[in-house]
């Protein structure tokens, strides 16, 4: 168990390094230069050169990369060109909004997905199963930004029920969180359905029936718990993907989280902020995946209590 955690953390460190390196390379390849952007179109080339030297941009890319890695190792993520603040402070300032959004979306997806999956798996190939299956295909096929815009058109522009953007009240949360959760709900529902159907084939289900339990009692008393492991795992794994979806959703709904910060910062070549945000997201994904792995052992007494007798 401890060995597993250590192994996964080592892999996680490698993933973080990869994410940082890739982001560093991509940003330097992108056209446009922060000094030019910061000083505006009227600046002279001497002024731009001076700023470039000040920011260390005149040195070779590889030298910049090594310096950057060294800084990260000391948990120094550089400063934001735009805000004149430590980059990580800018990022953490926006983190809460993203966490609220993704956690809400995850809860919606977990509850709705599990419910749909159980309804579908209750009678495989029944009418309910076919309905849910069609619904999940639909949910997964619709692009997030399109769903977001449609919801805004329907609930804000036409029905005037919900605010179209920004934060403040729980009503502000509804549309972004639902938009973000829809494809996730579909995935959870599909996994839950498969898991329920598989578990229903297990011999211990026959034993449960032989005690005189009804189908519903068998499902809730025996199958549900045994179907949960893949569902929890997929939730943990998909929360990472959810952060990717959050970037889009935040921009559609002007949600002031990490996603919109990243887009603004890329537009302004605010390298340090982009890198700090990506690093943070990658770290969160690594931790979530680790938790998903560990959830196996928490849910399955065969692993939790160790050994085969």
């Amino acid at each position: 168990m401890t060995g597993l955690v250590i192994r996964r953390l080592a892999v996680g460190m490698f993933v973080l390094w990869g994410a940082v390196t890739l982001m560093f390379a991509l940003l330097r390849m992108a056209p446009g230069d922060p000094a030019t952007l910061m000083l505006g179109p009227d600046a002279t080339s001497a002024e731009v050169d001076a700023l470039r030297t000040e920011l260390g941009l005149d040195r070779g890319v590889f030298a910049q990369y090594l310096t950057y890695l060294g800084q990260i190792a000391r948990l120094d993520f550089g400063d934001s060109y735009r805000f004149n603040l430590p980059a990580m402070d800018v990022v953490l300032d926006r983190l809460q909004a993203t966490v609220e959004l993704t956690v809400t979306a995850t809860v919606i997806a977990a509850v709705a997905g599990l419910t749909l999956g159980m309804l579908a798996g209750y009678r495989p190939n029944g009418r309910l199963d076919r309905t849910v299956s069609g619904l999940t295909i639909l949910l997964q096929g619709m692009p997030t930004f399109w769903v977001g815009i449609m919801l805004v058109l329907l609930f804000s522009a036409t029905l005037h029920l919900l605010p179209s953007s920004s934060v403040g009240t729980p009503q502000h949360m509804i549309m972004p969180a639902v938009t973000l959760s829809l494809p996730f709900t579909a995935i959870v529902a599909r996994i839950a359905r498969t898991s329920v159907v598989d578990s229903m084939q297990e011999p211990y289900v026959q034993t449960a029936y032989s005690k005189g339990l009804s189908r519903f009692q068998v499902l809730t008393g025996h199958v549900l718990r045994n179907s949960l492991t893949p569902v929890v795992t997929i939730i943990g794994l998909q929360m990472g993907a959810l952060l990717g979806g959050a970037v889009i959703v935040e921009n559609v709904f002007a949600w002031p989280g990490l996603g919109s910060l990243i887009v603004e910062s890329v537009a302004n070549r605010d390298y340090s902020v982009v890198q700090a945000a990506v690093l943070l997201i990658a770290a969160v994904v690594v931790v979530l995946n680790l938790l998903a792995d560990l959830s196996y052992s928490l849910l399955d007494p065969r692993i939790r209590t160790g050994g085969n007798r």
Binding site: Y204, S210, K211, P301, R302
Partner: protein
């Protein structure tokens, strides 16, 4: 038959499964009884329909299956009883012990919880359920039941799991226990002990048991009556001692010959020639005719009906009288 009437009586019991084109009778017009306080052994090769019959009795056939004929518990016809009634009988009147005790127990629940579930659902208070579970585990020969009831199935050995399964089946004080190859998945050394346990519990509780096995030696020790199954049909049935002492069907005789004498437990002396018939694609006439030494033309065309050869003994062979001891 004994003085007490049968607890279970099956007449013309058939189970149809969807075949290539039509519904096919995997179980074809089977007759048998399980006497009050007695054990009936159901023997047949793998695939002969033993599990299917046990499933029909407890009412847990695959969804695609249809069942017909008569199946009575005391005076009650089960096949026409409502699903609610059948469910109430399950566990309380008819319980089942499954072949593989590991997969038949829920891996995520403690043993005690699984054994006591039926009592808990019957509304017994927690303390009484726990006390009953300890008693049941003890009766099933599990040492230190107060502690072991908190273990998970994977923490038990194969034999202990089957003992837990037996305790689980006994929890509802059933009149009939269906034991589907209860020792097949176990170590040889444990098999005999589990069988003795089942036999002694059956006798002590005065309950009835339908014991399913492909092992004739198991049957000769435990079952009072024997039903010999071939390709979903009954070949012969009657009191075990008399059936094994003087078979009245060529298949029973061949089965007996294929079992090595108990003393010299070695390879089968005279293995049955040919492959077992598939009940989904039964040979014409007598299903056993391709393998039968006594077979002749009539056997290929005419399905032999069960005849009472002597009181309490039935054989479904056209030439039952010709079967030599």
């Amino acid at each position: 038959m004994t003085a007490a009437g049968p607890l279970i009586e099956a007449r013309d019991l058939s189970v149809h499964l969807p075949g290539a084109e039509t519904m096919t009778p995997v179980i074809d017009k089977v007759d048998f009884t399980v006497g009050e306080g007695r054990t009936t052994g159901l023997i047949g090769e793998s695939g002969s329909g033993k599990t299917m019959i046990a499933s029909a009795v407890i009412g847990l056939l695959p969804e695609a299956a249809t069942v017909s004929g008569e199946l009575r518990l005391r005076d009650e016809e089960l096949l026409t009883a409502g699903e609610k009634r059948r469910r109430n009988l399950r566990g309380h009147e008819i319980a089942m012990i499954f072949q593989d005790p590991l997969s038949a127990l829920n891996p995520a629940q403690r043993i005690g919880r699984q054994v006591g579930e039926i009592l808990r659902r019957d509304g017994l208070p927690r303390g009484e359920v726990d006390r009953a579970v300890v008693g049941l585990l003890d009766q099933a020969g599990i040492p230190d039941p107060e502690r072991r009831m908190r273990a998970y199935p994977h923490q038990f050995s194969g034999g202990m799991r089957q003992r837990a399964m037996i305790a689980l089946a006994l929890a509802g004080s059933p009149s009939l226990v269906l034991a589907d190859e209860p020792t097949t998945a176990l170590d040889v050394t444990v098999q005999a002990r589990i069988l003795r346990l089942l036999a002694s519990i059956q006798a002590a509780r005065g309950m009835s048991m339908l014991l399913v096995s492909h092992d004739l030696r198991v049957m000769s020790h435990v079952s009072h009556d024997l039903v010999v199954l071939y390709a979903g049909r009954v070949c012969e049935r009657g009191p075990t001692k008399r059936v094994l002492g003087r078979p009245r069907h060529p298949y029973t005789k061949a089965l007996l010959a294929s079992v090595p004498a108990v003393r010299e437990a070695s390879v089968p002396a005279d293995p049955l020639p040919g492959a077992p018939a598939n009940p989904m694609a039964r040979p014409s006439g007598c299903a056993f005719h391709p393998r039968c030494p006594l077979a002749r033309e009539r056997c290929k065309v005419e399905v032999p009906l069960a005849r009472e050869i002597e009181p309490g003994r039935f054989s479904a062979c056209h030439f039952a009288e010709e079967v030599t001891p």
